[in-house]
Structure formats: structure tokens, C-alpha cells
Symmetry: C2
Subunit: 337 residues, 2 copies
Amino acid sequence: MNLSELGEGGAIARMAEILQPGGLPPGWIGIGDDSAVTDLDPGAGESLAGPPGATVEARRSKVLTTVDMLVEGVHFRTETTSAADLGWKALAVNVSDVFATGGHPLWAVVAIALRGDLPAAWLDDLYRGLREAAARFACPIVGGDTVGTPGPLALSVTVVGTAACPRLRSSARPGDILAVTGPIGLSAAGLWALGHRDAPLPPDLRERAQQAHRRPLPPGYSSELATRERMALMDDSDGLGTSARQIAVASGVQVVVDASRLDVADDVASVAAVAGRDPLEWRLWGGEDYGLIAAISPQEPLPSGFRSVGRIETGQGAWLESSAGRTPLERGGFRHF
Amino acid sequence: MNLSELGEGGAIARMAEILQPGGLPPGWIGIGDDSAVTDLDPGAGESLAGPPGATVEARRSKVLTTVDMLVEGVHFRTETTSAADLGWKALAVNVSDVFATGGHPLWAVVAIALRGDLPAAWLDDLYRGLREAAARFACPIVGGDTVGTPGPLALSVTVVGTAACPRLRSSARPGDILAVTGPIGLSAAGLWALGHRDAPLPPDLRERAQQAHRRPLPPGYSSELATRERMALMDDSDGLGTSARQIAVASGVQVVVDASRLDVADDVASVAAVAGRDPLEWRLWGGEDYGLIAAISPQEPLPSGFRSVGRIETGQGAWLESSAGRTPLERGGFRHF
């Protein structure tokens, strides 16, 4: 079997299986969630993480670490993505992972493999995009490695953050509300718009959609979220459908997405109407919006910025429920190999 | 100007210039040393780092972060480097950076861009090599990203560590001894041996040299080093010559390497004799030994494992001193673009 046959999911599963045979120090959480969860003092164990509401000193916080690799020709093309947008996005997607683990980012390091034929001004623009995102998310870039490559550009960003009480994908419980932030699907709509410059989209709509794709703005982990006793949390980087499946597996529950709640008249629907596309497809499988997806107890009001798109039930798997009945949410996300 | 003309040094300089225009929180150290130095509480500033000898609580330690990118065809070839050795080395080089900043590693994350045509067993071996190094250096791998690439393999490892009192390249003072650990140049000798399977090297010598290249073993930051009041410290990843130049610039001093002190009868000299090469070339420019290079006050004995190879003087630049006089240490290290 080669890696194309194994697929990205298989490769990650092998990684977790081989790299963590003996487990990690108590209280640490490794491969599988949006960020890894660790302590500066591995011996201190579980007691270091405080529950919400407790007086949590800064030194008791957990450390979050997350990394993403972006490869030219797979995740972006220099012909269609500006260097500055690439820099912004490379940092934003990792900041999103930290928010999605219930933390806030502290600093980042960047490793870049560059083609020698690129103009030096391209690199300056990449750094400027990184700097703009670093300022926006209060996440300075403190270190880096720059090397040459004969092949496609590759860019790896690692963000370190902190969380008083990390939020995981595995905390969903039957009865919870499935809720999301933001105009889910707008990044996919923006990607379509970027590829169809002549399509008759109103300029402000085009701009909003393209901006959502080029400069995603993760909503942050609010103090309102931090007061909740329990929630499952992740970001929608791979689309709501994929996220729903991942929450179902991690929490051992059934996730039901309500199609009627996704059928709203918003920018995504407007672009889809011009494109002749089904907006539901973008909402479920587009991804890259970098909003938050949460499973939250129904006994409290929804946090501001969130809206309900489904519910958690006893069982397994992820389902799309519409007037036509329930169908499995089965289309896999983007296949990387 | 394109990136080939700018070069790696130029690209890193641009990164530091553009990404850190407004500086970092007090006490943080960004791009330019072996590891970045930060705090979990950016507001706490300089006071968080304790001097050697002080009662330094774990929570007062600084956090170190370092990242390296390895690219197929530039830093390794799958034909000559086994997947397991690549995994080991990818972690070891970053652990070395943490040691070289006076710290110890805590955890790592790994990002991998894979060619789909590689066998799945190759990936398993890579993970096994990473696991072996993680166990050896007490640095578990807690997270990762795995993506596909149409081009060369790329592997980026980030290590997070901690240091009570970070050591920098900028702390050398005139009068200091320049000292190194290990059989400097042995990795380059091993690389030569790996490329000359038929060369008449004694099997045990060949094995030691090849092992130094395939499985570098950074010596660690010892408690003996930690008690020193002051030292400049870095690793020799790019060779003693390059390191000497970097210490000279960072500390604003002149670094003098004494050629006679490098002229020792060791494994490097033995391989060089068979190869018909000048061992000094390997010692100065071979790099990848991942030993430590220090500038240490002459008023204390050399720490165990170190030997003197030169001295720090008032002035600037790095020089090689031999019976024939002083010549500038001018050959650049490996040029990546």
C-alpha cells in the first residue's frame, strides 16, 4: 500500500498509533484534537487545569500547541493567492485551532521552504501578511526557519497558546445543541467568486465572499464561552459535515445536522444563486471558514454569535435531516493525497 | 532580485526586519538565536527569568520554541537516508537548538508533506524514528499535520522547551575561551563514508562516523553548565566556522579559532586520511554534529565534555589562526537556495 491509498486520515491514525504507544504524561492530550494540550511541568498532571469558575491562576493554565502545513499546488497557488494573503491565512488557521481548543494564542514560529525563482518582493509580502495577522490576533512570530526547495513552496506555522480549561471534540453529550458561528460556507463561495471574475455578482457581495476566503477571521474564544461548564468545541476548517463526523466519533454520540436551519438567505445563498450551485454543499463541505462549532447544553442560552444547526443524540455517526428524512453525512472532506 | 540571489541569510534577515518592527514583549527574544525565548504570561516581562544560582521555580522558567524544515533533495534523499534516520534527525536537530539555548525539551509537534507514491511502510518507519528520538530526549510528539505534496517531501518539527536562564549567542566577552563538545567534523566524515561504501575504512570507524551522521546525539545542557554565571552558547549545526562568525556578530566581538587545537588524531582525522581530505575542512564547515559551542569565562575550569578551540578578543569577525598567521573564516556554510 502506498500513501495515496492510505490517505490523510490513515496517515494521521498511524501517527497517533506509532508515536503515542505508551501514552503521555497525565493531563496531556496528543494527536487528534485541534491543538495538543500540555504543561510546562509534566509531573504536575491533571491538577494543573482548573475548572471553569475556579480561580485559575495563569501559571495553572495548560499550554496549547498546533501546527499546519500548507503546500503550493495543494492548498494554494501563487497565481491565485497573493503572498500577503497566504501569510495571513497560514497564521489564522492555527490561531483558529487554538480558539477551537478554548484558548488564546501567545506566539508563533514559521518554517518556509522557498523556490529560488520567486522574487524577493514575494517573500516580503508573505512576511507582511504574517505580520498583519500576528498583530490582529496578538500572536507575534518569534522564530523561523527558511530553506530552499526544488519543488513546491511549503509553509509550516506552529502556534503556542494557553487555556485555563481546554475544550475538546469529545465533550458532546446527547441532548446538546449543535451550534456554529459565522456565515458558514462563505469561504467556499469566495473561492468560487475568485475563480469566476466575470460572474455577475454585486461588487460588495463579491468582496465579502472573497475576503472570507482570502483573509479568514476566526471569531475568538470569548469570555462568555469560558464560563460554560462543559462544551465540545472545534473549528470548521474541513467543513461542517466533516466536523460533525469528527465530533460524533470523538464523543461517541450521534450528530444530527438540520438542513432547514442551514437554508438561510445570506451571502452564501446569494453567491450560490448566481453560481447555480447548491449552497448546502458549500456549507457542509466547503470548510475554511474558521468559525467555531460547538455542542452546548440546551439548559443555557446560546452564546452570542452562535446559532443552532442541529443536535446531539444517543447513537453514532453524523446525519443530515431534512423533510425528505435522514441521510448519512458521508462525503469526506478534501482528500489531500 | 529573486530568492536565489537573496540567499538564506538574506531571507532570515528580511523575516526579522519585517516581522518584528515593533519589538516583542519585554524579556522575549525572537528570530536570530537557536530558539525563541518567551513567557506564558507576556506581561510578566524580564523578572520571570531567574539568574543562575537563584531559587528558580518552574513557573518562572522561560519557554523556548524552535522549528526546522527539512526538504527532500536539499537536506536528505530517500535513497540514502532511511525514513527512521530522518525521523530521528528531524527531532534531534530541534532538541539540539533547545539545549543550545540552555534549556531542555518538553514536547514536539510535526508537520509532514508526503508524496503519495511512497509506501505506507516508509511513513511507519519515519514515525518509529521520531518515536525513538522522542524517547531518547524525553520529548514526546503531541501533535502533527500530515498533508500531500506533488513535490519533494518536507518535514517540519517544532520543539517547545523550558530554560531557567536562557543562553544566547550574544553573551561572549573578550577574554573568553571558545570551547566545543564532541568529535567535531564526524558527521561530515560519516556523510563521506556513506557515499563511499567501498572505501577501506575499518568497520568500527565507519560505523561510528556513519552513526554520527545518521543519528546525531546532542549532548544535552548539563546541570554543570547551568551553574555558570555567563556564557554564550549555540550548537554547531552549520559548522564551527559558521558558528564562530555568528557569535562574533551577535556578541560584537572577534572570535579566533586556533587551527592547532583542531588538529587532533581522532575519528575525523582517520576518515579524512582514507578519503584524502583535509579534516579541518570538515571540522570548520561540515556541521550537523549538533555539539555545543560555548564562549566561557577563563576564570573557571572548562565544563566536562568541552575542549578549548580558540578564544574571544576585542574586535570583529571570525578568524582562523595557524602557524601561517590569521586568515578570515570566510567560507559560508551550506547555501540553501
